[in-house]
């Protein structure tokens, strides 16, 4: 092969990069020779290569210089050098977004795409489609259609793939090429077949019937391309999921038959599709698992990796189905690819017996330092799952985790370990002390502020209630001395909790607080001063309100209320009760155990759902003056799923009113609904004040209408009510294709299901981290107690779940988890009643022939206590 570069490059010595010290301006200067006649293809080619190389390195080209170079480049179309022409196409594609007026080359490209040189035609089509827009696409439509069915595979493929890219932009134009694509799908060339199938699917994916037909056709006739088979399997499994087709459907048979395909790629795709299907039985999984088992001993690393990763997924749901592969997995533990080894071990951890745990853990620790962080996280998650399965093994795990904690690792990895240790502590009370000790040791040398504050918070919560709280103080105070502001502040809060809980530690804590008041940071000093003063009062109620349980309001809400307060100067002190409450976090989410990496984007503090509603409602003039939004319920469906109109209702509770938000969707494409409102007939003394209709409801665009209801003032115990609802509207028939409505319409109505308002709509969940302290804080002034027999309930869990969902209150102290094999249980619930009164419920449950329940309610308001007891009864 001939050296194409200047002599200078040649002498630069082997291994050096002739492109290394390219200067953008120098290259653009050189590009002037594009204008010389005759064209020197060799030199021009070299310069184009340099330009593309620079673009590739991420060099930024300004619009003017790019446009200049681009226009000079267009002259090179006069040369007939093949490679040069091909590089021109590449330059066009690379510059399509940075240069202006790229459409200037349209005619040259159109000429090449229809010309005689097959080598040009494919790339020319792809370059042309890159610079084309919808209007120009129509001009070249005829050529595209011809190209799709061209007998040269590269031309046909190029046209199909380019069409696919264009679907996003000009669906309506590309849609007209379905017949050509259909013809291309029966091509002999495997890539053409694949691309045609892909394009056909993208054009038809919203039409389930057409997809079904297409699948039937191709599954019967068979395909040549393994890629096309993979695509077909994905389409089939998606269709199966959407139609909730049983596993006796012909589609499932098709996927299963692909397990016997001669291409490994197809076999793996089919196995993976079966494994990922929801609710697959062990029998249906068996053939997929056995092909994956075969792949485990493949010489190709990628195949082993794919197989063991998929088996790992199976093991999460059906550990027993994978036990047959245990032997093969054991062999993979020593695989040179550490990813494979890790996946094998974590799979074995899920399928293996309790006795093999120790051995496997030893195996992992031998190479844990060699694997990437992503897989370390996978290992930690496997351990976390294992701890739930075999609680007795927690001491082995804890040791292992603490060793991992000492090793180097990124934030995600450390966080996974800390989360895992915390969950072990929560599940096994007996492991609490060792766990806390490991975490204390970890924060002694921890560079991640988030983790340090998290652990300090945990120490503050759990530490004071351990047998010897004093030993944690040293670790916490070290943080005050050594760390950054955020950590110091967290440490001060944790210290305060020790002082509040343990009277004998209080003097020493006060001394330490005194020192913290000398801190250089404002926040730390403020906290210390505040806690110091609260602690010196030595009052249980104060401790509970300001140290243990903190504020339960929504932070964005508080910010807004305070801002509002400062805008309108008044004599009245700021009232905390006007601030909307924070919606209690939905019970902890089980961590996903899939070995995919955790999301990259850091979690942003998104405004809560309720804050969004508050925002939306406050823009409607009729709803101003209702005060802060107290609670928004989960949506309630008021229609069946497959009806003409789909309506769901969200109940918004305010201090003295309720707003019902009806989200309506019109699923008829030949109707336009206008002035839509929902008429509500209350069963109790609730008063409907106002209807706000949705002005218009076109096909498939959701709209909302609202109804405002006043709650009865005179009878505070009337908390439940049933509304019968009717949707009223004006119908205008319209053309399903154009959406053009007729001039006149007619009134119509549609009966919805009844809507219930229950006691839960008046109570907001609030988490009290220290229930005992809160219980003392509210005091026994309005305490009432009553005993009920729940005859229909058979187990304690069922009873607990029923009470929680009925009252809509937040379970505290993890009391929603009933320990196994116990006959009695105490449930602690906390919430805030409409109007801002704290409500606490203690329910003692005893199991004997049905469940007996003794309910004690405390609140600052007597009515609230009555309401709760009345509604339970």
């Amino acid at each position: 092969m001939i050296k194409k570069f200047d002599k200078k490059d040649e002498e630069a010595g082997s291994g050096s990069n002739p492109f290394q010290h390219l200067e953008k301006s120098a290259v653009l200067q050189e590009a002037r020779i594009f204008n010389e006649t005759p064209i020197n293809p060799r030199r021009c080619l070299h310069i184009l290569t340099k330009i593309i190389y620079l673009l590739n390195q991420g060099e930024h080209f300004g619009t003017t210089e790019a446009t200049e170079a681009f226009f000079a480049m267009t002259r090179l179309f006069q040369s007939n050098d093949q490679t040069l022409r091909r590089m021109c196409y590449l330059t066009i594609k690379e510059m399509a977004n940075i240069s202006e007026d790229v459409i200037i080359v349209t005619s040259s490209l159109t000429k090449d795409m229809t010309g005689k040189e097959d080598v040009y035609r494919g790339p020319a089509i792809r370059a042309l489609c890159r610079i084309t827009d919808t209007t120009m696409l129509q001009a070249i439509e005829r050529y595209m259609k011809q190209a799709i069915v061209d007998k040269v595979p590269s031309v046909s493929s190029s046209a199909l793939v380019s069409s696919l890219h264009m679907v996003k932009m000009s669906y309506d134009v590309v849609k007209r090429w379905v017949n050509e694509a259909q013809e291309a799908a029966s091509s002999d060339n495997i890539m053409v077949q694949y691309h045609a199938l892909g394009l056909l699917y993208h054009l038809r994916k919203n039409d389930r019937l057409a997809v079904t037909k297409m699948l039937n056709k191709f599954t019967k006739s068979g395909l040549k391309s393994p890629f096309a088979y993979c695509m077909l399997i994905r389409i089939a499994s998606k269709l199966l999921e959407e139609t909730e087709g049983g596993h006796d459907s012909p589609l499932f048979d098709f996927i299963e038959s692909c397990l016997r395909n001669k291409h490994e790629m197809v076999v793996y795709e089919a196995a993976s599709a079966i494994v990922h299907m929801p609710n697959c039985t062990a029998r249906e999984l068996a053939p997929a698992v056995s092909v994956l088992q075969l792949f485990c001993s493949s010489p190709k690393a990628a195949l082993r990796y794919a197989a063991v990763r998929t088996l790992n997924k199976v093991a999460m749901k059906h550990p027993s189905a994978v036990t047959a592969c245990n032997l093969d997995l054991e062999n993979l533990i020593t695989d040179s690819n550490r990813s494979i080894a890790t996946l094998a071990i974590t799979t074995l951890l899920k399928t293996g017996s309790e006795s093999s745990v120790d051995r496997l853990m030893k195996q992992i620790s031998s190479f844990v330092s060699e694997i990437s962080d992503e897989f370390k996280v996978v290992v930690v998650q496997a351990i976390s799952a294992l701890c739930q399965k075999y609680p007795r093994k927690h001491s082995v795990m804890m040791n292992f985790l603490s060793n991992m904690l000492r090793d180097d690792g990124g934030f995600e990895y450390k966080r996974a370990i800390v989360d895992c240790i915390i969950s072990i502590i929560e599940e096994n009370p007996e492991s609490k002390e060792t766990g806390l000790a490991h975490l204390c040791e970890f924060i002694e040398d921890c560079e991640h502020t988030v983790l340090a504050t998290k652990i300090l918070h945990l120490l503050g919560k759990e530490g004071p209630r351990t047998p010897s709280p004093s030993k944690y103080i040293r670790f916490i105070f070290n943080r005050v001395v050594l760390e950054s502001e955020a950590v110091r502040a967290a440490a001060v809060s944790a210290l305060a909790k020790f002082g509040a809980q343990n009277d004998d530690l209080l003097p020493s804590v006060l001394v330490l607080m005194q020192r913290c008041m000398m801190d250089s940071d404002d926040e730390v000093r403020d906290r210390a001063t505040f806690y110091m003063n609260v602690l010196q009062q030595k009052q249980k109620a104060l401790n509970a309100a300001y140290i243990f349980n903190g504020l339960s309001v929504s932070i964005p809400g508080l910010e807004k209320s305070l801002h509002q307060y400062t805008l309108e100067p008044s004599e009245k002190p700021f009232d905390m009760k006007t601030v909307p409450l924070a919606t209690a976090p939905i019970t902890e989410q089980k961590t996903e155990l899939a070995p995919v990496a955790t999301s990259k984007a850091p979690e942003k503090l998104a405004p809560s759902r309720q804050d969004i509603y508050q925002e939306q409602l406050s823009t409607i003039p009729e709803f101003q003056g209702l005060g802060p939004l107290f609670k928004s319920s989960e949506p309630v469906q008021l229609t069946e799923a497959e009806t003409e109109y789909v309506v769901r209702c969200i109940k918004h509770t305010f201090a003295g009113h309720m707003v019902f938000q009806f989200d309506c969707t019109n699923t008829l494409n030949d109707q336009l609904l206008q002035r839509v409102l929902v008429q509500m007939e209350p069963s109790e003394s609730y008063e409907v004040v106002h209807h706000i209709p949705a002005p218009s409801l076109p096909y498939n665009q959701p709209g909302s209408c609202y109804t405002l209801v006043r709650l009865p003032d005179d009878d505070p115990t009337a908390v439940s009510c049933t509304f019968s609802c009717t949707m009223k509207y004006l119908v205008r028939d319209c053309d399903p294709n154009t959406g053009e409505p007729d001039d006149d319409g007619y009134d119509d109505e549609y009966v919805l299901e009844d809507l219930e308002v229950t006691v839960a709509d008046h109570i907001q969940k609030v988490l009290k981290p220290n229930f005992g302290a809160a219980w003392e804080e509210v005091g026994a002034d309005f305490e009432k107690e009553e005993t009920f027999a729940l005859a229909s309930v058979r187990t304690l869990e069922e009873a607990v779940n029923n009470i929680i969902s009925f009252l809509g209150m937040q379970p505290c102290e993890r009391s929603d988890k009933v320990p196994e094999n116990k006959n009695s249980h105490i449930l602690f619930l906390a919430g805030v009643f409409r109007g801002g009164y704290d409500v606490l419920v203690r329910a003692r449950l005893a199991l004997a022939d049905g469940v007996t329940m003794q309910v004690t309610v405390r609140s600052a308001d007597e009515n609230v206590v009555d309401v709760i007891l009345a509604s339970v009864g």
Partner: protein, 177 residues
């Protein structure tokens, strides 16, 4: 995540990368917005290189993406796809790229030879993947379509030194054979 079924799509490849043995980018093509800025791309490349250049194990999971890779002398080839993607499909892209280059460079797959044939590389990748869609997986076809003709430039267009150089090269090759 367990029940997630892939949206059937032809968009398979997220990126194709080639680096040298210092982890410097020789070629990089990203087909979607996973790493929108050059800075993020370089950080990702650095991470990949650090995790892979010491081991010869062909496949890894990094930053939530499946990376298949291959190294030869002083070159590292990477093909990157979603972690839900069929690993064997990505592998077929990698193999096709490597085999095509190997043919074009006459089995001489190393940094120097590659840099001297950058335009060949550009054209080859363009024939293998188009906007993230696998365009061709058969190296024969790719080489055929790239159709790099180095040797048949008319003699009149060459300078004397070039002719001499090419004669030298040809003699060298015939001796080596």
């Amino acid at each position: 995540m367990d029940t997630l079924i892939l949206e059937p799509s032809l968009y398979t490849v997220k990126a194709v990368l080639i680096m040298d043995n210092d982890g410097e980018r020789l070629y990089a093509k990203y087909y979607d917005d996973t790493y929108p800025t050059v800075k993020e791309q370089k950080a990702f490349e650095k991470n990949i290189f650090n995790k892979t250049h010491r081991t010869d194990s062909e496949i890894a999971l990094l930053e939530g993406l499946t990376v298949v890779y291959k190294s030869n002398i002083d070159l590292y080839f990477y093909v990157i796809g979603s972690s839900h993607e069929n690993e064997l499909m990505l592998m077929s892209v990698l193999n096709c790229l490597f085999d095509s280059l190997s043919q074009m460079l006459r089995k001489n797959v190393e940094k120097r030879a590659l840099l001297e044939n950058m335009e060949g590389l550009f054209l080859a990748v363009d024939e293998i993947v188009d906007g993230g869609v696998i365009l061709e997986s058969d190296p024969q076809q790719v080489v055929h379509r790239v159709a790099l003709r180095g040797d048949d430039v008319p003699l009149t267009e060459q300078t004397v030194t070039q002719v001499l150089q090419s004669a030298k090269e040809q003699i060298k090759w015939s001796l080596l054979r």
